[in-house]
Amino acid sequence: MWGYLGRRVLSTIPVVLIVAVLIFMMLRLTPGDPASVIAGDAATTADVEEIRAKLGLSGSIFSQFFIWIGHAMQGDFGESFFYKKTVASLIADRLEPTLALSTLTIILATVIAVPLGTLAAYKQGSWLDRGVMGLSVAGFSVPVFVIGYVLIYVFALKLGWFPVQGYQRLSDGFWGFLHRLILPSFALAIVFIALLARMTRTSVLEVLNEDYVRTARAKGLPNLKVLVFHALRNAAVPIVTVIGISVATLLGGVVVTESVFNIPGLGRLTVDAVLARDYPTVQAVILLFSLAYVFINLVIDVLYTVLDPRIRY
């Protein structure tokens, strides 16, 4: 196991290096010039050239890459072209909102979808099953920004139960933090509830027909116990995989929800940086996302061994 973990950690090095090369080259090949953006409308060509030199963009792409990667390997991701703040501090500021939003979303999705999917499987063919699957299709079909605006209209503007927008840091009080996160998390969770409920239903249906479930029932165990300890546990591997992939997707994919609910997270930082061609910020954020993907996949693999003792590395 430890050998496996060591090999997996080592395997992240080429992955991150390839991501680094790709993102660096793609950014440089994308039309757009941060120096022109900074210089503004009234700048002359000479002004733009001077700013480009100050930003370190006048050398060849290769020399720029080696300077950047050299610093990055020492943990120095440089300074944002625009904010005059270190990229590390910008990311640190934006990490908490995105992590908080993603975590609450996954908790909501899991707490709602797994029981619903399990019940749907248990009551296969009933109105409950059809209802859950119908809602699941609806959850997939409605874009998250539509759900967001509808929730804001009903629960914030009309009922006044929640704020329209904004984020409060955890250090400024737990209730305020939670109050502002409920609507965006729920809006974001709906698609994951749909996905997880379907996946759970399918997995549980498969194991419900297994011999060991029949045996458990034959022993006279209550239905709840059979469902939770025999069926659900054995159906957990694909469910955990989906939850893990959802976490990874959420980290980089919450930009729409962050915009609709005005949450200053990593998604918005990435979009702003891409639109402004803030190369150091984009490069660092994408590297962070790739590391997060690798780490989450590793955690999922380890969880497999916990949930299914037959799996060994």
């Binding site: 010039d33 006044g160 939670l178």
Partner: protein, 528 residues
């Protein structure tokens, strides 16, 4: 109808939870003004960039020597008194008493001179004005002079310039930073203090009242007069989504939205708790810029044809819809301002396609496609290029419209490559009207070939006229020169002006005192 007990219990729990969460102690917010500006503040050096949001930040924390009032006249601001010698070659300025920087140090003439020098290296109007100055000299702690090589009418126009780059006054040690490097300290002498520790890019920018600021005694007028801060704290909230910003002001979570999208204006305007305020009566001006170094716009006659192919209303209607948010204006230097004139505009900008085709035939236009850059991500620009394409095609042009985000347009327009090799022929943009009030300030009129802005027009006659305007001190004669500039612009066009547009600010009804001015400023604003 009786609710099942489970449903009742759930509703009760939800109500209790919501009440608990909503009862989170709020900060005392009565004297904090929360505002959604048109953009997030990214760059904090108003001399290093011309970005309007950075200019607005400048007005929060810095002060200016002169300022433009609501009649467009330049009035002293930090300056107590000034004089000009009989030969118009020496200007003497004396600062007001009691001016302090936010670090508790007094504002001196040395600070003012250093700040002017840095600004004059970056700003085009500043450069022009400074080309007449032989020497800036500090006389004493409060007095400085400018010795000129020849008289100019630009001194006050430049020092009282309301829009980017604004000659803000900084401490000498900061103003000595190269103009092509960003400053690292943000100390001004304006009515608000920048809270760097609370600045979270992408989230909020915070300013607090500078209690030692000494406002002028005159009532506020435009950018001029007494700058009295009536709120303790101003927070600029970054809300990039237009719908969310509107929702926030409707719910009372913010007090003001500077830039409400056209399609949302009716929603906001009908809310009883909101008032709309036309804060910038001068508005903004749309323009189509030519690249004059490539075919077909290297021929002035082809450029003249555009004045016949295009009309203003189609552009304005396509973006703003409601006629109360735009104005047709044939005057190059903004309708309602001293230099505005319709001279030479008869029959132009009325989509006379026949005349456009005739001019193209005279110019022997060979059907070379016009590469028209189309910005797709800024709501106030997105609809312009498709309108231009349609009108140009009806006027006899072939058009190759290429769509991209605004930053790609910004990068592409700086390229002199041939249009079919990554260059361009035309693009559309917008200027704040305050930036285009005279021939020298209007950057697109600069026709100094290589030194001109992208598009690189080359016209010695136009430069001669702009130089005459810069030297002229008599307003009546300046007006006459401005008319000649407009006529020359129609003969050898550098761009096409496509009308004025306005964007009212949305305010909660308890917010009062916002001033009508070219820039949104927060002195005199109070919450009731």
């Amino acid at each position: 109808m009786r609710l099942p007990s489970l449903a009742k219990g759930t509703l009760l729990a939800a109500a209790v939870l919501t009440a608990t969460l909503a009862a989170v102690p709020a900060q005392a917010q009565q004297n904090t003004l929360k505002v959604v500006m048109h953009s997030d503040l990214k760059i904090v050096d108003p001399i290093w960039t011309t970005a309007y949001i950075t200019r607005n930040h400048g007005y929060m924390i810095y002060d200016t020597l002169f300022a433009m009032d609501d009649k467009g006249e330049i009035k002293p601001q930090m300056v107590d008194k000034y004089s000009v010698s009989a030969d118009n070659l020496t200007w003497t300025f004396t600062l007001r008493d009691g001016l302090m920087f936010h670090d508790d140090k007094p504002v001196t003439a040395e600070d003012a001179v250093a700040s002017i020098k840095r600004w004059a290296q970056k700003d085009s109007l500043g450069q022009k004005m400074n080309s007449f100055v032989k020497e800036w000299k500090v006389v004493d702690a409060k007095t400085f002079t400018a010795s000129l090589s020849s008289p100019t009418g630009l001194m006050l126009l430049a020092l009282g310039k309301p829009s980017s780059n604004v000659p803000f006054i900084m401490p000498k040690r900061i103003a000595e930073t190269s103009p092509n490097e960003q400053i690292k300290e943000y100390i001004g002498s304006g009515p608000f203090v920048f809270k760097t520790d609370e600045w979270k890019p992408g989230d909020k920018t915070v300013y607090t009242k500078f209690t030692k600021y000494k406002p002028r005694a005159e009532p506020p007028s435009g950018m001029a007069g007494g700058k009295v801060a009536k709120v303790d704290r101003v927070e600029w909230r970054a809300i990039p989504d237009g719908q969310t910003a509107v929702n926030a002001v409707l719910a009372g979570e913010v007090d003001m939205v500077e830039d409400v999208k056209s399609e949302l204006l009716p929603v906001v305007a009908k809310d009883p708790n909101i008032k709309m305020f036309d804060q910038n009566p001068l508005g903004n001006q749309y323009v189509l810029r030519f690249n004059t170094i490539h075919k077909p716009f290297d021929d002035p006659k082809v450029r003249q044809a555009m004045f016949y192919a295009l009309n203003q209303e189609d552009f304005l209607k396509a973006v703003h819809g409601d006629a109360k948010y735009y104005k047709l204006c044939k005057a190059l230097f903004i309708c309602g301002t001293p230099l505005a004139t319709d001279k030479g505009m008869e029959g132009k900008l009325e989509s006379n396609f026949k005349k456009s085709r005739e001019l193209l035939a005279e110019a022997k236009y060979d059907g070379t496609p016009v590469v028209l850059l189309h910005s797709t991500d800024l709501a106030v620009l997105t609809n312009l290029a498709p309108v231009a394409k349609s009108l140009m095609e009806r006027g006899g042009f072939k058009v190759d419209m290429q769509s991209m985000d605004w930053q790609s347009v910004v990068a592409r327009r700086a390229k002199k490559d041939a249009p079919n090799a990554g260059g361009w022929n035309a693009f559309l943009t917008s200027w704040v009207a305050a930036d285009v009030l005279n021939p020298v300030g209007t950057a697109f009129l600069n026709s100094s070939c290589e030194k001109a802005l992208f598009g690189w027009p080359c016209d010695p006659e136009m430069e001669k006229l702009r130089d005459q305007f810069a030297r002229e001190t008599d307003p009546a004669k300046q007006k006459a020169i401005a008319e000649q500039v407009q006529l020359r612009y129609l003969e050898v066009p550098t761009h096409v002006h496509l009308g004025q547009w306005y964007r009212p600010v949305a305010l909660r009804k308890n917010v009062d005192g916002l001033l009508a001015s070219p820039v949104v400023v927060f002195w005199n604003v109070e919450k009731k």
